[in-house]
């Protein structure tokens, strides 16, 4: 059978309207249970807060004033002047910043739909001891819930905080027994790690993932990874040409710490503003060093024991 091309998302946050239809479509298609007790966070319109075992799309919501907008524009311009990898001639492709503001200069809302990154070098996949996590023919990373024994190593292995074990008591509980409001169906796939599958079941039927299918503004785009990266680069160049130097890509660089991500994002501020790590690095990149150092330490322990029996009376 022929290998299908790598699939991925391009989430263009500059046209996200924060409707959260992606969150709903994801939950419905994947039969994911409700998180918590429908509490309001009080911090913003975001009551979902983060990705988790039962939340595979999460819409971040940030309100910013004049200073934050100016800072974002400056940090974006700094990226351009660093000569960050880009197609064609980087700095010269960007005209002198257009002073005409494309948005209200004193206030803006940032909305961004976050999702599993389906990393090229996936920490969760590397550290999984059972083989429950695997790389699909579409280049995505998926958990087999009938194989996972819930050891939780992948939760610690993800640099983006995406994977979570469903209904455990240590990480943020996603389901509380004895605190139900109304009826709730029994929680499926309890005790095993859960995350976005990039709708593996839909891909097998040549269907678009539920979130991308439902997105009313095409902020979430789905397709072949190479064409997603290409359209992300086109879009960021377009925004730069409009003077929006705050626009930048996240995950489009295959030389980054995770080998580039399958889910590419266009952001309008630094990644940490959206709750994304600024310089993620797959933990297994340093594993050879760790094994070497551990080997030396183990040899030292054996040597200490040998000395102990040689000297010890």
């Amino acid at each position: 059978m022929e290998q299908p091309p790598r699939k991925g998302f391009f989430t263009d946050t500059s046209i996200c309207i924060g409707c959260k239809a992606c969150e709903v479509a994801c939950k419905e298609w994947n039969h994911n249970p409700r998180d918590g007790d429908l509490e309001l966070t009080g911090m913003s319109y975001d009551n979902t807060v983060s990705l988790g075992a039962s939340t595979w799309r999460h819409v971040a919501f940030v309100e910013q004033g004049r200073d934050a907008i100016a800072a974002a524009r400056t940090s974006g311009r700094a990226l351009v002047s660093l000569g960050m990898p880009s197609v064609g001639a980087p700095a010269s492709a960007v005209p002198a910043p257009d002073v005409a503001p494309p948005d209200t200069p004193e206030f803006r809302w940032l909305m961004a739909s976050d999702v599993c990154k389906h990393c090229t070098h996936a920490g969760c996949l590397d550290v999984c001891p059972t083989g429950a996590l695997f790389r699909t023919e579409f280049g995505t990373v998926v958990i087999q819930p009938d194989v996972c024994n819930g050891c939780g190593t992948c939760v610690a292995g993800c640099p983006f905080g995406v994977v979570e074990r469903r209904s455990d008591g240590t990480a943020a509980p996603t389901y509380r027994e004895g605190h139900r409001k109304g009826e709730q169906p029994p929680v499926p796939k309890r005790g095993v790690a859960q995350k976005c599958t990039l709708c593996y079941d839909r891909l097998l039927d040549d269907e678009t993932p539920a979130c991308a299918k439902t997105c009313p503004t095409t902020s979430i785009k789905f397709g072949d990874h190479t064409s997603m990266v290409a359209s992300a680069r086109e879009r960021v160049a377009e925004l730069h040409a409009q003077g929006m130097t705050e626009a930048r890509l996240y995950g489009a660089n295959e030389l980054d710490g995770v080998g580039g991500t399958g889910s590419v994002f266009l952001l309008l501020d630094e990644p940490e503003v959206y709750g994304l790590p600024p310089d993620p690095r797959v933990c297994t990149a340093d594993l050879p060093t760790m094994y070497k150092r551990a080997g030396v330490a183990m040899a030292g322990m054996v040597a200490a024991a040998a000395v102990a029996f040689w000297k010890g009376r």
Partner: protein, 323 residues
């Protein structure tokens, strides 16, 4: 150089998730260390003809492996599927490598413990014709277990370090030295508790070497870490535990050197050393969990290393790009 931008985050919400591990895991780190160290002591005693130390170290190792195994299984989300740990071998997964180390260690150890129990029972176990086989296998099995003893004591450091948990990951060069030292001093401490001073000489030496290694490795580790990632090792309950761990370890070593040949002193010093090891494991564990709760521990070290690479002219490896 661009001045350090002000620290921002998404409403102070965590970026990475804490692994869903309860206190079973640090308990296992402690018990696995005791098992590994005891396995080495048992093999040494076997090779140098120290019968009591050999027996006691083997039984200690077995008890520690048994309890540790129970703790590991209890901590799984699906304990009934624990055997899936052995459905594959993945060198990229320290959890997988460790499962095989634990299995290999326990395999050899079980044979030696079988022989010890049979001896304790006055050769009354219903072994029949298998008794000579058991006796013949006992020696090689003890050596086989010893081969996997140091790996059992050390792999857990890689297990913690090979994660996105900021504090654990930042320890990745030096935590193995802390853990094998902690395993050495704890298993030696237990041997000093269980075994008469006449046979516990090697345990006394190993205890002192372990304490020296533990204190030195811990200091070196803290100095080498990113200062922000190292913070949780000094603050809160983790900081308290690690401070007491060092005090108990040093006190134990002083006790061994001053009066280790007197049994009551040896017992107290041995208990102090075991306490020190337990506190090291729980302290390092807690510090890591704490470092996942505040996005600062993710963002600040990452921004710092990114800025350092940019300052050095390396601009091609950032996850954020202009195009």
């Amino acid at each position: 150089m661009v001045p350090e931008a002000e620290f921002t985050s998404y409403y102070d919400k965590p970026i990475v998730k804490a692994p869903p591990w309860g206190h079973e895991i640090p308990a296992y780190l402690f018990l696995g260390g005791i098992a590994g160290g005891s396995g080495l002591l048992a093999a040494g005693a076997q090779l140098t003809g120290r019968t009591l130390l050999r027996r006691n170290a083997r039984l200690s190792a077995m008890a520690a492996v048994g309890l540790g195994g129970v703790a590991l299984v209890a901590d799984l989300g699906k304990p009934s599927r624990f055997y899936n740990m052995l459905r594959t071998f993945k060198v990229t997964s320290p959890m997988s490598v460790g499962s095989w180390i634990l299995t290999a260690f326990a395999g050899g150890l079980t044979v030696t413990v079988g022989a010890e129990v049979d001896r304790l029972a006055g050769a009354r176990l219903p072994l029949g014709p298998l008794r000579p086989v058991l006796r013949a296998l006992e020696g090689p099995a003890g050596i086989e277990a010893a081969v996997f003893a140091a790996p059992l004591a050390g792999y857990t450091a890689v297990l913690l370090a090979d994660t996105a948990v900021p504090t654990w990951n930042a320890t990745h060069r030096d935590l193995p030295f802390v853990f094998v030292s902690s395993a050495s001093l704890a298993s030696a401490g237990l041997a000093m508790v269980t075994t008469p001073v006449s046979e516990a000489g090697p345990a006394r030496v190993l205890a002192v070497l372990g304490v020296v290694g533990d204190v030195v490795a811990m200091k070196a580790m803290e100095r080498r870490m990113d200062p922000v990632a190292a913070e949780p090792l000094h603050h809160g309950s983790a900081g308290t535990m690690l401070r007491w761990s060092e005090r108990l370890a040093v006190a134990g070593a002083v006790g061994v050197l001053a009066g280790g040949r007197r049994r009551p002193v040896a017992v107290v010093a041995g208990l102090a050393l075991m306490g020190a090891s337990a506190l090291t494991r729980f302290g390092v564990f807690e510090a890591g969990i704490h470092s996942t709760k505040d996005p600062r521990y993710v963002i600040e070290p990452q921004r710092r290393r990114l800025a350092a690479r940019r300052a050095a002219g390396e601009t091609g490896d950032s996850i954020t790009t202009a195009g």
